[in-house]
Symmetry: C2
């Protein structure tokens, strides 16, 4: 068990996730130092019967490069958690450890779906005025061809349906992040992705270009972008949220009247905090298996979010759905694709 | 006078700016419909002696493309405001009109500084925990070579010193926006820009890569990025600020106790709003002349911000400073530049 906080957060998170699943069956393989895990489990009696500990003293540090982790990581808690998926012992893995190592090891052990995907995409779920927007990729794929942006749309759609939609038959709305909504805006990759998505006949409801303000505005369910822009948008938002919280606190402690007001308004301010807090984890999408990264600095509640996301994904057929839509993309990208695309689009209607 | 609100906002903004300049000399040429401007001026007696109206009935609409505006815009209020700079009648132009048209017309009439700059860059000033961060480019230049990113650093430095620094000898700190702070992170353009900035011997204090959370965190004074990423970061922040304000309002009206608290805390909440509101305008940088775009939807206070920025820029030597640093960049980019760069860097120390 890695992450900035290790076993205390992961074990408390598992206990919290069990409560949230309220009776739905769940079991945990806990990979890490047995003595430390046992010590934490004493605080959660109800969790004990659901848990099996897989001892390892080996860990991958936060500083290790992905290539090092691939060479030296075998037998570590992170490696063993992913390997348990391939062995059929676990339906999903959740880790708070080194993101680069988790991606490299997951790709090596589980492989990518289809042949078109080069790296897993990381998806972030943003709270919005209307619910949640899923934004991807937020980190792994820096330079993205148009076809990769289409793959992100395919993966984001399947993720959204499995995790955020109340009705599994819901058709998520999807947009491509750009600097304006007109067709001629932006660079070649987003314009080509827009053409492919309009022509493709995919399962989701493609809505064209969206802008940065549409992320928190909730204009569509899924927003796709390259990992460079997505990472910067995500971190810009995280920085701004921290600045808001600090400014709010400072404003409400600046004079006695405001302080008294803040005490009275505690209920409202607590609701605000709950509303603005994003889930504590996001999946690596595009793998033949469910791997969720919980944020390094998260608490037990955030780790429980990550477990819940992993559970919902593993209980869905999202990997099959991604595979099916990626087939359609291959058809659309084939040299003589025009006719095929048209008939695909018609048969999908 | 264009912009979403036209003469009412611009005239009230000029009156407010005059108050803020508290006695420093200022005069206005107001370009637009004389009757409408006269009607607004009746509300601001003190402004009347500082104003000369330049009547034109011709306007450029918000929908007009830059190429159309160049062909048909001559004689419009926007065109005349920029032309007055070239004629030496005005030290700066402020416009709330069509951004693309303003950029194209400004470039045509005023020309870019030096030969390396292709388009003006738009700079946004973000409120942060420590003051203001200047972010550029936020819209005009979609695909940016490394040398353009360096030019943004040069322009952002001169802007920051003229507008945001209390001491004109202050050396602003500058960072390049990236997905991590390590040298090998990001795409080729940001890595090359990082090398050029480290070697260049410019006037500012270059600090290397920064991340999205550093924008609101205020890690450096000036953050440079390509116009695609910058536009998305800016609009992501704007969307989040709106969502935050709406959520705060909703949270504080959700129950009677919170409502009472919000009434008591009105002073603190007003301080919060003032603190989170960015200036209502940003300059187009890289031109041989000072042009400031006020945000289309801004109010009189925001328009006054734009006028104040234009005033501070015009009162500084920022255009000369940009020219001098761009010379240094040309030296650094010359094929046999290595020795020159080293001696430049030494002589700057």
């Amino acid at each position: 068990m890695g992450g900035d906080h290790g076993p205390p957060v992961a074990v408390a998170g598992a206990a919290e996730a069990t409560r949230r699943l309220s009776g739905r069956p769940v079991r945990f393989l806990l990979h890490g130092d047995e003595a430390r895990i046992e010590a934490e489990l004493r605080r959660f009696e109800a969790l004990r019967p659901l848990v099996e500990i897989r001892h390892t003293a080996q860990i991958i540090s936060g500083e290790e490069k992905p290539a090092q982790a691939l060479r030296r990581g075998k037998g570590s808690s992170l490696w063993n958690a992913v390997e348990a998926i391939r062995q059929g012992e676990a339906a999903a893995a959740v880790s708070g450890g080194n993101t680069g190592a988790l991606m490299a090891i997951s790709k090596l052990i589980l492989r990518m779906i289809g042949s078109g995907l080069e790296r897993p995409a990381i998806v972030a779920s943003w709270p919005t005025a209307r619910g949640v927007t899923a934004l991807l990729d937020v980190g792994a794929n820096i330079d993205c061809a148009a076809s990769q942006l289409v793959e992100f749309a395919i993966m984001g759609d399947a993720f959204y349906r499995a995790v955020h939609a109340a009705d599994p038959a819901y058709r998520p709305t999807v947009g491509v992040l750009n600097v304006g909504s007109e067709e001629m805006k932006g660079h070649e990759e987003v314009r080509e992705a827009n053409r492919l998505l309009r022509a493709g006949g995919f399962d989701f409801d493609y809505r064209g270009f969206v802008e940065g303000n549409d992320i928190a505005g909730g204009a569509v369910d899924v927003i796709v972008t390259d990992g460079f822009t997505g990472n910067i948008a995500l971190k810009t938002g995280e920085g701004l949220a921290r600045f808001f919280a600090a400014s709010l606190k400072q404003s409400l402690t600046g004079d006695p009247l405001s302080m008294a007001g803040a005490v009275l308004a505690k209920g409202g301010l607590d609701r605000l905090r709950a509303r603005l807090t994003p889930p504590g984890g996001g999946p690596l999408l595009g793998l033949n298996g469910t791997v969720v990264k919980s944020h390094g600095g998260t608490d037990a509640s955030g780790f429980a979010d990550a477990i819940k996301i992993a559970y919902d994904l593993a209980a869905s057929r999202y990997i099959e759905e991604i595979g099916r839509n990626i087939e359609r993309l291959s058809v659309a990208l084939a040299p003589d694709a025009t006719n095929n695309v048209v008939s695909e689009a018609k048969s999908a209607e």
